[in-house]
């Protein structure tokens, strides 16, 4: 990184070239007070707290450090009487109409206004209480409270909403001292990420579920990892009196869990957590007595399970028993379940539950482990190719990173999808193709001669596909993000991109990128075109107008040109795969096949954490009747789900908040999940229950009841885990699991091309391309995609119900 020398208060220090002065000061241990400055958001310079004197180059007025890029030889003073006076004057101004009702303010204790007042203000004010102008507190969304009188109008919230989320849901209304944060209708319609609340430095925006619930200093804050999608955000879980109270990306003091998501969380990670204390939690083991599941002791339940499993095994052999896990269970659970299946039961039929809407991992990993991109890679990608899926709805952090790359790094975003997505607004090229025809794109990319055929299969112009191909060839680093739309040969063929789309030489990439930036800088609609360009139409303004802000963080590099993000469905699909709990690895029946075989070759199922009945959606009744044919159904669950209700034994398990362990995200990064609260009721962790059953059946896994021993064994046995330990992961945070790259020697090119051709040929060309406009809530696809656990969240389930009720396109159309 290029650095410059600057002098802060007489001390010469180094700072990254082009970095903002306020950040450069902080890097060198000089904290400047601020409200409006927030790393990565467009500079605002409105609070006037960060003023400094710049002596070289000599500038007569005090300057705001949050807008000044450092330059070589710059000399600044950040501490002097005149500066102190300005800071305390600004604090006095901000408090002049502030209610200062800290005793009843949820932010008190982690309020930046409090902290800055203590740090930089006076212990008195000249404003009189009876002079204050009141604004009423109100709720502005199902999740957000707004107390406008506490606002310092720093607009972090609105910038986050616009720049991170691309929602434009909140804005400032009115003018001058009447300025309020609001939406035009007064009610905020958005994706409910709640990031605006997290970044708010005051008690103006508050989380509804956290209102009047706890004081920050009473909270125990545990850094842990979200469990609701495969992005794997870190979060600070706040608990009090053994209750999980809130999860935040950053607390009011700016502390984060230090994860891959920095300050970001989505609505699931933030507002779904109340399921943990839902009164419907199964809090003790249940055993079937005739029609009913009745409470039992752990001993009774475990003995019953062990005995029945042993009997069935003796009668029909181990292969008559199947083990199914949920993709959200942690590595340790998956690993122990696999050993349980292999050693205790003696069955190959072990699989983590996934159906057609899971990424085809078997194909993806067929020849080795392709280079996998992390969020950091996405954020600094040169070009992003998004095929299928809708990260904006299913993997919100990935969507955030994509927007970040486009906005801050001018990345080129190419989308090939069969349905509308809000990310299309960021795309340089967005191609809508026939549903089910996405694999043809890969065919065209790896075999130029097939472009015409592939394009016609996709229902698009061949020119569009060759353009995409050209952009990919001319890019230095490409991140390919794909969902379940790609299958079998199309996923396998991703391994060919590196050689077929290699950049001829670095100059080509360089020139192409220059041309792209140049086009962005020219990209202003002529002002006399009837429609004026709106703020939404040029998402690139940040880098184009503020080129200096492209600084600091060195781009992360990858050895290969192409890297991939498989948008797997569950928080630990990758981990389950790596632990080998997948039928493709065990060579047994898949979860679906086991259910189909129930009553036939399968006599008993041991299901850990998946509601296979509800997952079946429209086929629920078929799955139900299949399960009813079993001799034994054991379910480890938190709730009496549709599946658990059919079980002979229900064993209560801990939620992510009560359990400890590791999980792997879609960037193949393993992260340590900490226990936040003690188990609810008599719940036990999945892995522990399984070892206990195993012991009763005569196999001792030798973990001595210690989770870390499970991981120790994982580190020894599982490829890519060697050298890792819970301790290390707890300290290091997200750690990439590295495995051998694909061995191209193993690829049978002719066969692969043949199979690709068959895929393309099989595409139903009578399907119409969906070119519909994006509606406010493109919820349809999501109805059965949200984690089922959301049903037990009183906070989030009404929102989801409302969304899935939206059948006809909602009336609000976003500008194209």
């Amino acid at each position: 990184m290029e650095t410059v020398k600057i002098t802060i208060n007489g001390q010469e220090v180094a700072a990254p070239k082009g970095e903002l002065l306020i950040e450069a000061c902080e890097m060198n241990g000089v904290y400047l007070p601020r409200f409006c400055h927030f790393r990565g958001l467009t500079p605002q310079a409105s609070c006037r707290m960060c003023v400094v004197r710049v002596d070289n180059p000599k500038i007569p007025k005090l300057q705001t450090a949050c807008t000044m890029p450092v330059s070589d030889g710059m000399v600044v003073t950040t501490d002097s009487q005149e500066i102190e006076e300005v800071r305390s004057a600004m604090i006095e101004f901000l408090l002049s109409n502030h209610p200062v009702d800290c005793p009843v303010c949820d932010r008190a204790g982690e309020c930046e206004l409090q902290d800055q007042t203590y740090g930089f203000g006076e212990d008195r004010t000249r404003s009189q209480y009876d002079d204050k102008e009141n604004f009423l507190e109100r709720q502005i969304s199902p999740f957000i409270y707004n107390d406008p009188q506490r606002c310092v109008v720093c607009k972090r919230c609105t910038r986050v909403c616009e720049e991170w989320m691309d929602e434009f849901a909140i804005t400032t209304v009115n003018r001058g001292s009447q300025t309020l944060i609001s939406s035009f209708s007064g009610w905020v319609e958005c994706s409910d990420c709640g990031n605006c609340v997290d970044v708010c430095p005051t008690g103006t925006l508050l989380h509804v579920p956290y209102k009047y619930v706890a004081r920050p200093w009473d909270l125990k804050q545990t850094p842990t990892v979200c469990n609701f999608c495969s992005d794997g955000c870190s979060m600070l879980a706040g608990s009090r009196s053994e209750k999980l109270i809130r999860t935040v990306a950053r607390d009011g003091r700016g502390r984060t869990a230090g994860g891959i998501n920095h300050d970001f969380l989505c609505s699931l990670g933030r507002y779904t957590i109340d399921f943990v204390h839902n009164r419907q939690r199964v809090d003790r083991p249940m055993v079937r007595r005739g029609e009913h599941l009745v409470p039992a002791t752990w001993d009774e339940a475990l003995n019953f399970v062990a005995q029945r499993l042993s009997e069935i095994k003796a009668q029909n052999g181990g292969e008559s028993i199947g083990v199914i896990s949920a993709g959200r269970l942690m590595n340790e659970d998956q690993y122990v379940l696999r050993r349980f299946a292999e050693e205790t039961i003696g069955t190959k039929n072990a699989d983590f539950y996934h159906d057609d809407d899971e990424v085809d991992l078997a194909a993806f990993f067929k020849y080795g482990t392709p280079a996998i991109a992390t969020q950091e890679h996405i954020q600094s990608a040169d070009t992003i190719l998004l095929i299928g899926s809708d990260p904006n709805e299913e993997n919100p952090l990935t969507a955030f990173s994509i927007r970040w790359a486009v906005r801050q790094k001018a990345a080129r975003l190419v989308i090939v999808n069969s349905m509308p997505s809000r990310l299309e607004r960021q795309a340089q090229t967005a191609v809508r193709v026939r549903e089910g025809s996405e694999p043809a794109l890969i065919h065209a990319l790896v075999d130029e001669s097939r472009i015409n055929d592939a394009a016609s299969a996709m229902g698009v112009d061949a020119g569009q596909i060759s353009d995409i191909r050209r952009v990919l060839v001319e890019s230095a680093k490409v991140v390919v993000i794909f969902g379940d739309e790609l299958r079998s040969a199309a996923v396998e063929a991703l391994a060919l991109l590196e050689e077929t789309l290699a950049t001829p030489n670095p100059e080509v990439a360089e020139a192409s990128r220059k041309a792209h930036i140049d086009a962005l800088q020219r990209a202003v609609k002529s002002s006399n075109s009837t429609q004026k360009p709106s703020i939404n139409e040029n998402p690139y303004t940040y880098i184009v107008e503020h080129p200096t802000l492209e600084v600091a963080a060195e781009p992360v590099s990858s050895a290969t040109k192409f890297s991939f993000v498989p948008l797997v469905r569950y928080s630990n699909s990758m981990g389950a795969w790596q632990m080998g709990l997948d039928s493709a690895g065990t060579g047994g029946l898949s979860a679906q096949a086991m259910i189909n075989a129930a009553g036939g070759s399968i006599k008993a199922l041991y299901i850990a954490g998946e509601d296979v009945v509800s997952k079946a959606g429209g086929n629920a009744s078929i799955v139900r009747s299949q399960l009813e044919k079993l001799d034994l159904l054991v379910v480890q669950e938190m709730f009496l789900t549709d599946t658990a209700e059919l079980a002979d034994v229900v064993l209560p398990v801990t939620s992510f908040a009560e359990a400890q362990g590791t999980q792997v995200n879609n960037g193949s990064q393993v992260q340590f999940v900490r226990r936040t609260i003690p188990p609810v009721g008599q719940a036990r962790p999945d892995w522990m229950i399984v070892t206990q059953v195993a012991r009763l059946m005569g196999t001792d896994f030798n973990f001595q009841g210690q989770l870390k021993n499970v991981f120790k064994e994982i580190a020894e046995k599982i490829d890519g885990y060697s050298g890792l330990s819970h301790n290390l992961l707890a300290n290091e945070g997200a750690t990439i699991i590295r495995r051998a790259l694909p061995d191209s020697g193993r690829i049978d090119h002719a066969d692969l091309h043949n199979r690709l051709a068959m895929l393309t040929a099989a595409i139903d060309r009578s399907v119409a391309v969906d070119s519909s406009e994006l509606t406010a809530k493109a919820g349809s696809r999501l109805q059965n995609r949200y984690p089922l656990i959301t049903r037990y969240s009183e906070m989030i389930s009404p929102k989801l119900a409302e969304e899935s009720a939206l059948e006809a396109p909602a009336p609000v159309i976003f500008p194209a």
Partner: protein
């Protein structure tokens, strides 16, 4: 005296018709521009004229035009600031309603000098009737080939649009104006970059006041030197002043730069009614520091002379106040205006103007508390120079100057009994 701007005012709007305008010498400067001037030569001529911006800041116009980069990836624009919202100012109104083609001609010349194809007049919403006048005039100019694809056969394309504001003073500030023109909330932008480099839709943009642009045709016709010679060394040419308040003949007057202030009050405006004595003058619109009668005797109407008494020429809105006026009341009125017009972006102006006004309100009820005058002064001090844009300064300067110069009017508002009660309570 040579008139530059008001030659057609006597026609009382007759010059809105392009034929009348042409008959009285109109569009000849434009013709001459294409014949005799390269774009750079136009800028040179304007530099020579010592013309300074008439919108308030008085920035040398030629220099500003010189900042526009020659090569630009995005289109360039000329934008006329016709937002005229400064209290006490109504000169642009008359310029546009009596002589719209003069402004149009000035804009076309500016557009030619800078290489701008599409250009805007941003007019305050309350001037809706003037917007109609301008649009008619623009339509005529298109018809006669002064605007459009090929202006006067020169190959230069020039378009002109009128865009109304919606009633915000801050949208007169050039960068807030550009935001508003782009369809966004009227907040000022961070400078640098200045509009001349990154302006409308990110393209290099010149924002000039109506009067500034209206002076350009004369400069082209008669030369920069001649224009400069009309005024003083540093303040070239003539200027249009709006005189209001206690004078017998309020109105708009064009005088040469450097003309004595009191001569204008006494001669052009016919002096103060009823033979009353002068108390104070706000010489350049409500934003500038007030001056006393004694100071008014000493100053001339140019940028430098106004500086000697600590005030500014501003927008040229001269507000004359006789001895019956309570400066506390006028200052409160001005403060109310700024509180109402603060855009709310930055802390000192948003919170400071509200607080200032709160103190004014209680003093207005004769319930001022001891120390309130000092409080007002100090609050103004905490706004001055610390705000994001000059509106904060504009709110602070009148308060400070009024207290400095007319302290008695303020002290009267302090409730003396309260002093005793308060001290007793302490």
């Amino acid at each position: 005296m040579t008139k530059v701007l008001t030659n057609r005012f006597d026609l009382k709007g007759g010059a809105c018709d392009i034929d009348v305008y042409l008959k009285t010498g109109g569009y000849q400067a434009l013709a001459r521009t294409f014949k005799d001037f390269t774009p750079d030569q136009v800028i040179e001529e304007v530099k020579k004229s010592a013309l300074r911006g008439r919108g308030g800041a008085g920035f040398p116009t030629g220099m500003k035009w010189g900042f526009v980069p020659k090569e630009s990836k995005r289109p360039k624009y000329v934008v006329c600031n016709a937002d005229e919202s400064e209290p006490g100012t109504g000169k642009d109104r008359d310029l546009m309603r009596y002589d719209p083609h003069l402004l149009i001609e000035g804009m076309i010349i500016a557009a030619y000098a800078l290489g701008a194809r599409d250009n805007y007049i941003y007019i305050r919403g309350e001037y809706w009737y003037i917007k109609e006048i301008l649009e008619k005039a623009i339509a005529q100019a298109y018809e006669r080939g002064y605007l459009g694809k090929n202006v006067l056969g020169s190959g230069f394309e020039c378009n002109l649009y009128v865009h109304p504001g919606a009633g915000a003073y801050i949208c007169g500030e050039e960068t807030a104006l550009l935001e508003s023109l782009e369809g966004k909330r009227g907040h000022p932008r961070l400078k640098p970059p200045f509009p001349a480099v990154v302006g409308l839709y990110g393209g290099p943009t010149i924002v000039n006041n109506v009067e500034t642009l209206a002076a350009v045709p004369w400069i082209i016709q008669n030369g920069g030197e001649a224009y400069k010679a009309l005024g003083t060394e540093k303040s070239g040419g003539t200027k249009l002043f709006t005189v209001s308040g206690h004078v017998n003949r309020p109105g708009n007057y064009e005088v040469a730069m450097g003309y004595p202030l009191m001569s204008m009050v006494n001669n052009e405006c016919g002096g103060i009614p009823g033979g009353r004595k002068l108390k104070a003058i706000i010489p350049g619109g409500s934003s500038v520091p007030i001056i006393t009668a004694e100071e008014a005797e000493k100053v001339n109407l140019d940028y430098e002379s106004m500086g000697t008494v600590g005030s500014m020429l501003g927008s040229g809105g001269v507000i004359v106040m006789d001895e019956t006026v309570d400066i506390f009341e006028t200052t409160m009125n001005v403060t109310h205006f700024y509180k109402h017009e603060s855009c709310g972006w930055c802390t000192p102006c948003r919170e400071g103007t509200r607080w200032l006004f709160k103190v004014f309100e209680r003093m207005h009820r004769y319930e001022g508390r001891p120390g309130d005058v000092e409080l007002l002064y100090d609050l103004a001090d905490k706004i001055l120079g610390k705000s994001f844009c000059p509106l904060g300064d504009a709110a602070a300067m009148p308060v400070q100057s009024a207290i400095q110069k007319f302290r008695d009017d303020f002290d009267r508002r302090i409730k003396s009994t309260l002093v005793q009660i308060n001290t007793a309570a302490d």
